[in-house]
Amino acid sequence: MAANAGTVPAAPGARRSLAPGLSIGLSTLYLSLIVLLPLAALSWRAHGWGAVSTPQAVAALRLTLGLSVAVALVNAVFGTAIAWTLVRDRFVGQGFVNALVDLPFALPTIVAGLTLLALYGPKSPVGINAAFTRWGLLLALLFVTLPFVVRTVQPVLFELDREMEDAAASLGAGRVTTFLRIILPSILPAILSGVALAFARAVGEFGAVVLISGNLPFKTEVVSVYVLGRLESNDSGGAAAASVVILLISFGVLLAIGGLRRWVTRHDR
């Protein structure tokens, strides 16, 4: 019987019901071990919730969220534009640019932070001093989140049915109309995925911002750095509490983006 099992093809119906059960089980187990368990442990350790409502903590939370939303939006626009250029245009050095996009991923974020500080810091060779300002933070976060939208939109744009655009043109649509009504709705799910990733990454980023931010409370202190500060003052409970709050907010934002994405892909179901 057991020896036979491998050679007897399962009935299509049986396979269809078995595989999802198995895959759901496996995915749940994996996610629990890798994501949920550490998060639960984190929540367990969180106490001193009062620390979260201190003006300093609230300022850090607001700054982090504001920056992350800004980063996600800027990426939505420029990431899409870069993906467009990479897919639709032909130019010398295209392969080079394409490889360049992933570089922020390859660089250890602390190195990225150092580099940005050298470039846009007090001794900036290009004459821009953004160190210890929110602009500096924004720059650092844009740098590390650049690849997300580009890499989610690029393949979708590549696979996009060009004849849809021909059809729109023959029906009287100019370039702008075709982009807004045909192309954009088709790549919007991919943009949203990229935006969600960029947002999440921006919320959690530490290495790239710790140097350039200068950690000025109420001004340039983001949550990840604030948490480090709590830890250094031996307040691990408060650190965990702040982390849990930012995680919950992020989770809410990601759920909302996911819902939006499901809504814009309703035609696929």
């Binding site: 049915d161 021909d166 059809a167 023959s170 029906l171 009287g172 100019g174 109309t177």
Partner: protein
């Protein structure tokens, strides 16, 4: 009326259209027939403005449109692979051309309702293209193209991706639609039966050139050259003589003008029977007979018969 004059289109150093001139009279249904790669789609796309020709002119109803972008040409285009707007419902797909022209709501509603009726999709207006069959998608594509009252309707192998039965149904339906609307229509196909069935004029293309333009009957009876002769129907080639299988007569006794041949195979195609023969000089040919004729002659595999062409064509070069 579509007039294309001396159209040349190159892709790199490959010449897809090599000086093509075609006239499509107002109100006609013209088929562009040719083998794969002969440039049919390219010609259609040049007419629609989706492709810029390297030389030549296109005019629609007497207006030179060669430099006009597709959106200003007033041309309806139907694509082989539907090119449905996947994120829009059937209704929104059909309404697209009117919506972007900012027509009043009531007018759009009336026109789309009318068109969905015409293509028999009224019940499916709220569906998305992914929830339609191929035939339904293509009817949606047709309604979408018709919505803006195009001067000409261009169909690029509209039924190419459908199975044989649906294909036949749709082309009869298209013919009826054309008889009602009289929109000047060009349909691309590489299926000679489809071209002959649906069109009142056929343009035969080969390797980026036009070989012949004629009504279906004339094309079949008086093909301009070897290529057209063999493309529009089955043909036997004996030396420089061409004989259609139904122009081959089989006799049991020789008479002065007959040649001896042996029956190699009998292929029953319903009412008709294809008889494959090999002549004493080794040449093979096929004859098309009715079942009755085969029974009267009592044809058998291996039997010796005498062949006489009732009609044959020789092309002078």
């Amino acid at each position: 009326m579509i007039e294309a004059r001396g159209i040349v289109k190159r892709f790199g150093d490959f010449t897809a259209l090599d000086g093509v001139s075609v006239d499509v009279p107002t109100g006609s249904l013209t088929a562009l027939l040719g083998p794969s790669g002969s440039g049919k789609s390219t010609l259609l796309r040049v007419v629609a403005g989706l492709e810029q020709p390297d030389a030549g002119e296109v005019s629609l109803d007497g207006e030179d449109v060669t430099r006009l972008p597709p959106q200003s040409r007033g041309v309806g285009f139907v694509f082989q692979h539907y090119a449905a707007f996947k994120h829009m419902t059937v209704w929104d797909n059909v309404a697209f051309g009117l919506t972007i022209r900012r027509r009043p709501r009531s007018e759009i509603k009336q026109r789309v309702t009318e068109l969905l009726d015409l293509v028999q999709l009224s019940g499916l207006a709220k569906r998305y293209p992914a929830q339609l069959s191929g035939g339904q998608r293509q009817r949606m594509g047709l309604a979408r193209a018709l919505a803006v009252d195009p001067k000409v309707l261009l169909l690029d192998e509209p039924f190419g991706a459908l199975d044989a039965r649906v294909r036949k149904e749709l082309r009869i339906w298209l013919r009826r639609l054309h008889d009602e609307t009289h929109t000047t229509t060009v349909i691309v196909t590489h299926d000679q039966e489809e071209a002959m069935d649906v069109a009142d004029r056929v343009v035969v293309m080969n390797a980026g050139r036009v070989e012949q333009t004629a009504p279906p009957r004339e094309l079949y009876d008086h093909p301009a050259n070897e290529f057209v002769m063999s493309f529009v129907g089955p043909v036997n080639r004996l030396g420089d003589t061409f004989i259609r299988p139904h122009d081959v007569e089989l006799l049991l006794e020789p008479n002065g003008s007959t040649q001896e041949a042996m029956v190699q195979r009998l292929v029953h195609l319903g009412f008709e029977v294809r008889v494959e023969l090999v002549r004493d000089d080794g040449e093979t040919l096929s004859a098309q007979l009715t079942r009755e004729q085969v029974e009267t002659l009592e044809l058998q595999h291996g039997q010796i018969v005498y062949v006489r062409p009732t009609h044959q064509t020789v092309f002078a070069d």
